[in-house]
């Protein structure tokens, strides 16, 4: 995607607020909140307790501050008014005390916001890192059954809402609740009847706001849908914009767009109409409450014997009632964003909880050399010879030389239970042999190679590597011994050198150059202005398809594995580059066991065996000449009478 995607600066000033958050009901797993809290308490317990204490202090000081108004009025102003030489000394002491309370409160605020920032960022980092770590260990199947967009949204949307919640909503909620409680206590201490009136009014406000919000949530769903439709339409049409031009469909698509755009307009209006008025209504109901309290309070004061003495109480009660209604509407807002965030957290936890790839293998790959007696022994240093190290029952180890002898015996496989993809597949590749798979899309060519490196596990049958069942081999070591060149080249952001080194992390520069030379990539890389240090971005978008393939061949070559699995690229590259790629592949294959999935038949003629697959079964096998003589499917494919892809 383009990099110019602007981000909302959510760190400042909070999100959209209002009913935007009032999305339709989200399902939340039980225990999600508890689990989220455990992230906080696990590492940041002391700080979190400090945060809670400081929030309490800060709320109480602000309530005390408001209550001080009552003392100022009742104890000082009212008695002193009219006196000839007012004595301010007591008053001054009192004001100093008030200032002291405020300073304490400010310090508490400072401490809790700073600690909270550290906690929330820490928790987010912990969750983020854990999620990625777990994701790396997930089986390929997970990535087949979840779209990239789906997985990405855990890192973007879900983490975003979580950040919003942990760094803003959660502390806000805590402080709101504490403020509500302490304000309520303070109000009760002044006047019970008035307090009940305030609470009743607040409940009324909550009720009104909730009614509006639930009304708007329906419109919000249709707004989201309309927006998705319009954006989807724009995306599809702009992707086909050149086709539109060629077919002069501009007017037609304008018409279609207008229909969708107008629908979006009305949905957006309906949704925002309520969302926009929600906060003003809540705020103004707060005003109304304030006003009503003033009137009722004034009548209550006047009904007493000495109303003037109650003046301070009335004034500070008024201010208290004002600071009571604010957190109430805040809680309502936070509540929704917390629900949203919990739903996101639930999705993240689901990913974290997915069962990782199982690896029960205990056979490992070690460097080896032959001793004087011709026996294999394990050595530390790199010898170019490898051995499988298999633990025996008596605690000793058996060493088997890594040769690259692969056999499949009666293998059945299906990606899911309903549909079997491979039936009774049996084949062998002796060390140094080249075996080619040929067949239409969906015949099962790639599937076979995915079973050898255990991206998937077979249902029935046996896959053996140098005589060892691959289930007994440690997955990492199994994959280390297999070189892969996949159809989709998938280069990473980084320099060309780094990309080639991907095959062997500790490779020297010399090794990188040699691998590139072997793959016929050296020539074009040197022509680039930055040579091997050229930065690749977006899957190597600045290179041609053929050049990307050459790099991926070099990447496989540098690892120097005894067995190679090659999946040829299908996209059309011009004849000259194709020849370079082919040469590179040939050099790579030299002296290794090779399993190649062929999309161009000219490349498989020199294979030891060609296996023709159809619907998950091997229907023909043999050398090129033999298969041509058979005049079967291979012959038809070869003469171009059948479509290969």
């Amino acid at each position: 995607m383009s990099t110019e995607r602007p981000r909302q600066m959510k760190g400042f000033g909070g999100g959209r607020g209002g009913a935007a958050m009032m999305s339709p009901k989200q399902k939340i797993e039980k225990g999600t909140f508890k689990r989220l809290c455990s992230y906080i308490t696990k590492k940041y317990k002391a700080r979190f307790i400090a945060v809670i204490i400081c929030i309490i202090i800060s709320s109480i000081t602000s309530v005390l501050g408001i209550m001080s108004l009552r003392t100022v009025i009742d104890e000082y102003i009212t008695p002193l008014v009219g006196t000839a030489n007012p004595d301010y000394s007591n008053f001054a002491t009192f004001m100093m005390a008030v200032a002291g309370i405020f300073i304490t409160g400010t310090i508490a605020t400072f401490i809790y916001s700073r600690f909270m920032a550290m906690i929330s960022q820490g928790v987010l980092r912990d969750i983020r890192d854990e999620m990625f770590e777990k994701m790396q260990k997930l089986p390929i199947k997970y990535f087949d059954t979840h779209t990239h967009g789906e997985i990405m949204s855990h890192y973007t949307n879900d983490i975003d809402t979580l950040r919003q919640m942990i760094s803003q909503s959660l502390p806000n909620l805590i402080s709101s609740v504490i403020t509500i409680v302490s304000t309520m206590v303070a109000m009760f201490s002044m006047n019970i009847a008035l307090t009940i009136f305030v609470i009743a009014f607040s409940i009324f406000t909550v009720f009104i706001v909730k009614t509006i919000a639930s009304k708007s949530s329906k419109f919000f769903v249709s707004q989201q849908e309309s927006l998705a439709t319009v954006n989807g339409y724009v995306e599809e049409m702009l992707n086909g914009q050149k086709v539109i031009k060629v077919f002069t469909h501009e007017d037609k698509t304008k018409e279609e767009f207008d229909v969708l755009n107008n629908k979006l307009n009305s949905d957006m209006y309906n949704a925002n109409r309520f969302a926009n008025s929600l906060m003003p209504i809540a705020g103004n109901l707060g005003n109304l409450q304030y006003v009503s309290v003033a009137i009722v309070g004034s009548m209550w004061a006047l009904a007493s014997t000495n109303p003037i003495e109650l003046l301070g109480t009335l004034v500070s009660f008024l201010q208290l009632s004002k600071s009571f209604s604010r957190p109430v509407s805040q809680v309502m807002n936070q509540f929704n964003s917390i629900i949203m965030a919990l739903a996101g957290a639930g999705r993240i936890f689901k990913l974290i909880d997915t069962t990782p790839e199982v690896d029960e293998g205990n056979v490992t790959l070690v460097n080896a050399e032959k001793n004087d007696k011709g026996e294999l022994v394990e050595v530390e240093k790199h010898t170019g010879m490898w051995a499988w190290k298999r633990p025996l029952e008596d605690g000793k180890f058996e060493y088997i030389e890594l040769k690259g002898y692969i056999t499949l015996t009666d293998v059945d496989f299906g990606y899911n239970e309903e549909k079997q993809v491979l039936h009774d597949v049996s084949l062998y590749a002796k060390p140094g042999q080249k075996i080619a798979f040929v067949g239409a899309t969906g015949a099962g060519k790639t599937t076979i190679t995915n079973l050898i490196n255990r991206f998937y596990d077979i249902i029935d049958g046996k896959v053996e590597y140098d005589g060892i069942d691959i289930k007994q081999i440690k997955k990492d070591d199994l994959r280390h011994s297999l070189g892969m060149v996949l159809q989709d080249t998938n280069l990473f952001t980084g320099t060309i050198k780094e990309n080639i080194r991907y095959g062997k992390s500790d490779a020297t520069d010399e090794e990188v150059y040699n691998a590139a030379k072997l793959a016929n990539a050296d020539g074009f890389i040197k022509m680039l202005p930055q040579g091997y240090d050229t930065m690749l971005t977006e899957n190597g978008a600045q290179l041609s398809q053929g050049q990307r393939q050459l790099i991926s061949i070099a990447r496989a070559a540098i690892a120097n594995p005894p067995v190679m699995i090659l999946d040829e690229a299908t996209s059309s590259i011009d004849t000259r580059t194709e020849k370079l790629v082919q040469d590179g592949m040939d050099k790579l294959m030299d002296g290794r066991t090779v399993l190649v999935i062929a999309h161009r038949l000219s490349t498989v003629r020199n294979s030891k065996a060609i296996l023709v697959l159809e619907n998950g079964r091997i229907i023909e096998r043999g050398e090129h000449d033999f298969l041509i003589d058979q005049k079967g499917t291979y012959y038809k494919l070869y003469t171009g009478a059948f479509e290969l892809e």
Binding site: S2, E4, R5, P6, M9, G11, G13, Y76, I77, V81, F91, A92, V98, A99, T106, S113, Q121, F132, M135, Q136, H148, M152, Y155, L227, N231, E235, E236, L238, N239, Q241, K242, V243, K245, V246, F247, M268, A271, A275, N276, P280, N287, V291, S292, A294, I295, S298, P307, L310, V315, F455, R479, G483, N490, F492, S572, D574, T575, S602, R605, E645
Partner: protein, 579 residues
Amino acid sequence: MIKKLSKFIGQYKVPTILTPILISLEVVMEVIIPLVMAELIDKGVYAGEMNLIYKLGLELVILAMFSLFFGATNGFTAAKASAGFAKNLRQALYYKVQDFSFSNIDKFSTASLITRLTTDVSNVQQAFQMLIRITVRAPLMFAFSLIAALKINAKLALIFVCVIPVLGFAIYKIISKTHPIMKATFKKYDKLNNVVEENVSSMRVVKSFVLEDEEIEKFKGVSGVIYNNFIRAEKNMTFMPVIMDTAIYTCVVLVSWLGAKIIVDSNMTLLTTGELMTLITYSIQILTSLLMVSMVALMLTNAKASGDRIVEVLDEEIDIVNKENAITEVKDGSVEFDNVSFSYVKDMEKLCLKNINIKINPGEVVGVIGGTGTGKSTLVNLIPRLYDVTDGTLKVGGIDVREYDIKALRDQVACVLQKNVLFSGSISENIRWGNESATDEEVERVCKLAQADEFIKAFPDGYNTHIEQGGTNVSGGQKQRLCIARALLKKPKILILDDSTSAVDTRTDALIRKAFREEIPDTTKIIIAQRINSVEDADKIIVIDGGVINGFGTHEELLKTNAIYKEVYDSQVKGSDEA
């Protein structure tokens, strides 16, 4: 930018103007309420006047009700205005992009255009709504409250006047220190997402090279940088509530202290208890709206980038437009390149095609061969005037293509693009892109020509089979044949196939060419191909290399005279005979 964008308020002027007015009225109510409240306390409670309490109480309720009314209605008008504004803006952008020529599209890239039409429009819409609401509300609240405070007691209000610049400066400092860090952090966030995206899409590579742990380290590295940056930014931001609290508390303490003194010293003539309370209310209103103003300013700067990108699209000059009194009739399918040169950047130094001279007669089949990037597609894209020639003239039907009405020309010159797209919808809907009013028989006929009829009928739903977005549910070869059928339905005088049968097997490929020859003999056919057997039976073959015509003739002629053609031929055809 604002001036250009404000044009799109269009028919929504009334709600756009009404919104700030309603908001102003709401603010006025909210500023008056504390004033009346002061009166209630002083003249009502303090003086013990029950009647006055009733009267002022009623006044207060009415004021609050009005405030509620204005608050609710401005939400409505703002929704109307901003949704309408977004609609107009989106429409203008979409229409504009529809008028874009190929080179306009190339300049922006599809992905960036999509962002501008989706995310950027949403950002600007939000900013617009903020502009007519909060941008009005916060400064007004600030100003009115300050004025009211000054009216009550100018001396005491001086406290605010002193605190405001200090607070304003502090907020400014904090934001200007934090903003760049945040910006950098979000860039890093993109990098983090990039790592994830690469891993998700390349999981097989990661796993085959057993580099999961290295990738985890890479991720944690970026993740740690983000953490540190955020901590730095948040550390600055934590001063915000502290500064706000300090400012408010300072005001409250000073107002109470000095206010009390004034009340007592003047014996309630210069200031009353009720007014003291009102001043405290105002102090909170003034200071929080100051914070609000700075936040709004920050958000608007963020939306500015989106606005700029939108204006960029709207301001783009369209380089291919219809001439006045353009010709609407294409006489025949002849094509003539007369010394044509072309450059994508309109620079005679950087030519992609140099001095092309070709003449193609109506009904001829012309093959085009050449390596990638040699100018094959560029050459044929000039014919339906997808790009304009930089130099020389290109004639279709004997007339310069620039003289034609674009729609008329493109209806007669059907081009099957190399990067072709099917749209979501049924197969017959997709084919009918060529001609909306075509009958079912006509649709079936072109599909037969393109050798697509057979596989379409093999689908359970036949011609009603739904095509997924981008045509992902049909194979490459099937997709190409559908695209050819779609172009054929136009009944064009010239048909251009830009590497459009690369995924089709050779037998079907041959059948398509045979059908072309027999069924539409009068249509000029220009075929770009990688495979030599796709062009060898053409009337003429063009060999392009490095933007110039390297050879032009029949298969036999070129085989004898053209080195490149021979090389390609040898590598493809002879190759299969050796073994």
